[in-house]
Amino acid sequence: MKTKLIIGLLAIGLLFPAKSNAQSLPSGKSIADKTHARDEGVSMSRTLTMELKDKRGKVRIRETTSLRKYFGEEKRLAIFYLTPKSVMGTAFLTYDYPDPSVDDDQWLYMPALRKTRRISAANRGDYFLGTDLTYEDIKLETRISRDDYNYKTIGKELINGHESYVLEGNPINDKIAKELGYSKVKLWVDAKIWMLRKADSWDIAGNFLKTTEITDIKQVQGIWTYHQIHVKNHKTNHQTYFRISDIDYQTEISDDTFTKEALVNGL
């Protein structure tokens, strides 16, 4: 009787392997939470170089210094343009609030006008300063959204030799889909360090839109840090390489750096 029971259980296991495999995979929500729980340090300074390459191979390079600091759960980010020299001094400031229902506050300082313009952050699906990432992509910074998608964890794959969970995400409703500019995403999240390693996304019409690959991930001052992001837009064949260097999580950044006045005074 006992033997029959064991055989029966084994048979069930053989008949429904997928079900038991799915049960062993963490939910999308828990993976999203883990990407947000990752240590990012309180403050950070870095050089961010954006290389924009169009379909004919023409390359434009923008170098920036980027400063970030947490004020409690509120994240503030300031980006100062270093090149091209003719737009040097252009600076961008964001207050990213923990409540997802509250829009970020954003300012752009334009040295040609010597004025700081307030910018709406409502259009989070707009492209960030001519690159192939949206404002929302930039804001998430290799984390995945906790609120915008219904996720399904579909398996595990190796990305550049690193075991990663594969998730499919669909925006929770049409309004969110329109805001984000995506109808579907497929994400590969590192199962060990909980960092996004790759993402595919589809536009609102369902066309394959772009692929994002995050590489050269290593620890800096004990914090897992990406050093390169490559984004290819399959519709326009435009590509952006984000290269990150001079990363410092221990530098002291004054609170005053994240003010409109600081944008005017520059670095």
Partner: protein, 445 residues
């Protein structure tokens, strides 16, 4: 023994070498230099000739003493090949000696655009001392609170404000009181607007009353303030960001950057009547404020300025020396709507003379509007925009379409036009024969 000395010398030299290398590396890190070159060639439709052919070299140097202090120097070499906008060597009577340009012949001049020391003292007080630009206000195109620095009107208001604004020797001190940012400015530099001569392309004749037929006009020397302390300007700005609102309150005690043209009818020794004009700069008080707030995809912004005792040319024959005085209330509200790569920006300006006077060539209540539409294309490679400024009272204005294109990382091309329309006695209409098409380039390294 000798061997020991040799070793010591080698060690010292290597230490000195390492020290020198360290110093060199530190200098490299602290010192930054850049150069931007712009060129702009404009063809005037009416005269079928080149109106402007300028090439500007803008070197910039900064040296950071430490994380909180830096020196910044911005120079400029300006050349106008056809010597048209500011023909010859201008006298610059309205410019203080310490801010004058150095002319090399008629076509070229050197200018120290900015030279200042910035420091943050214990993260409490931020000081900027030296020649600099201080800009207030929220509006584009027309100025309400942006009156701290004067302007060169060699191209009326077509030139980029960055180029036309005249930097001044001044002190800017910034500190915070709780959540309120305080900015104090002190400007001992007695430099005022550079207006153009009668025969210059952008001479603003609408400002001057034409003498009656047969009556000549004599311009006397402009009385310009020249006392370092007593004639300096001071300003205060309080600003805060609360519940999504950016707010500022501004006060400025200053000399109006345009002189008051006191005039009176005289009789010459030969018994001929003539108008004697005595320009003089006068003091004013200004209080004002700004706000902006984002709602959805739109940014609402506004600016107000109330000027006490503004002197205005008058048509009232009883006016003392042709001038009447009134308080003036100026306001502007604007909206910037962003959708994808498109920005629509609209502004409504009002200018009200509060006293019962008879101003020359303007209504007591004037309204201007502006509309700017711009679109970024090809991952911000190409930008197309059009600006339209219109005076509702007199029906004059101008339209300025422009496209710009990045041909590589460091080079941007511009093609644009400026088209004035309206009655030629009015502010914008007077330049309708100055409408032009422009081609320019900006390159930096």
């Amino acid at each position: 023994m000798l061997q020991k000395y040799k070793i010591a010398i080698v060690l010292l030299l290597s230490l000195a070498g390492a020290n020198a290398q360290e110093k060199q590396n530190k200098f490299k890190e602290s010192f930054k230099a850049s150069l931007v070159v712009t060129s702009d060639f404009s063809y005037e439709f009416n005269s079928e000739s080149l109106q402007k052919s300028e090439i500007i070299f803008k070197p910039e140097f900064s040296y950071r003493l430490n994380r909180k202090s830096k020196f910044v120097l911005k120079g400029q070499l300006y050349t106008e090949l056809n010597d048209n906008l500011e023909a010859g060597v201008p006298k610059e009577n309205t410019v203080s000696n310490m801010s004058k340009r150095l002319f090399i012949g008629d076509r070229t001049n050197l200018e120290l655009r900015e030279f200042y020391f910035y420091t943050s003292i214990k993260n409490i007080l931020r000081l900027t001392i030296g020649k600099q630009q201080i800009v207030w206000g929220e509006t584009d195109g027309l100025k309400l609170l942006d009156v701290v620095n004067p302007q060169n009107f060699r191209e009326f208001i077509l030139d980029d404000f960055e180029d036309s604004r005249i930097p001044l020797w001044s002190l800017k001190a910034e500190f915070d009181i709780k959540t309120i940012g305080v900015q104090f400015v002190w400007i001992p530099d007695n430099t005022y607007h550079i207006t153009q001569d009668f025969d210059a392309p952008f001479f603003t004749k609408s400002l001057f009353q034409t003498p009656p037929e047969g009556v000549s006009a004599v311009f006397n020397k402009t009385l310009k303030p020249n006392r370092f302390i007593a004639d300096s300007d001071i300003g205060l700005k309080l600003s805060t960001f609360t519940k999504g609102w950016d707010l500022s309150l501004n006060y400025f005690y200053y000399y109006d950057d345009l002189p008051v043209f006191y005039s009176q009818l005289n009789i010459s020794e030969t018994n001929s009547p003539f108008i004697e004009i005595n320009p003089k700069f006068e003091r004013q008080h200004l209080i004002g404020g700004t706000f902006n707030k984002v709602i959805g995809s739109s940014t609402f912004r506004g600016e107000v300025a109330y000027i006490f005792n503004q002197n205005l040319s008058s048509t009232n024959s009883n006016a003392s020396r042709g001038i009447e005085t009134s308080n003036v209330f100026k306001s502007a509200i604007g909206i910037d709507y962003i959708k994808g790569e498109n920005i629509i920006s609209a502004q409504l300006f009002s200018d009200i003379i509060t006293d019962d006077i008879s101003p020359y060539n303007r209504d007591k209540f004037e309204t201007n509007t502006s509309l700017k539409i711009s679109r970024e294309m090809m991952n911000d490679n190409l930008t197309a925009e059009v600006l339209w400024v219109h005076n509702a009272n007199h029906g004059d204005g101008y339209v300025k379409p422009q496209v710009s294109y990045w041909i590589n990382t460091n080079t941007q091309l511009f093609l644009g036009s400026s088209i004035f329309y309206g009655n030629e006695t009015q502010l914008f209409g007077q330049f309708k024969d100055k409408s032009r098409i422009s081609l320019g380039m900006r390159w930096g390294i």
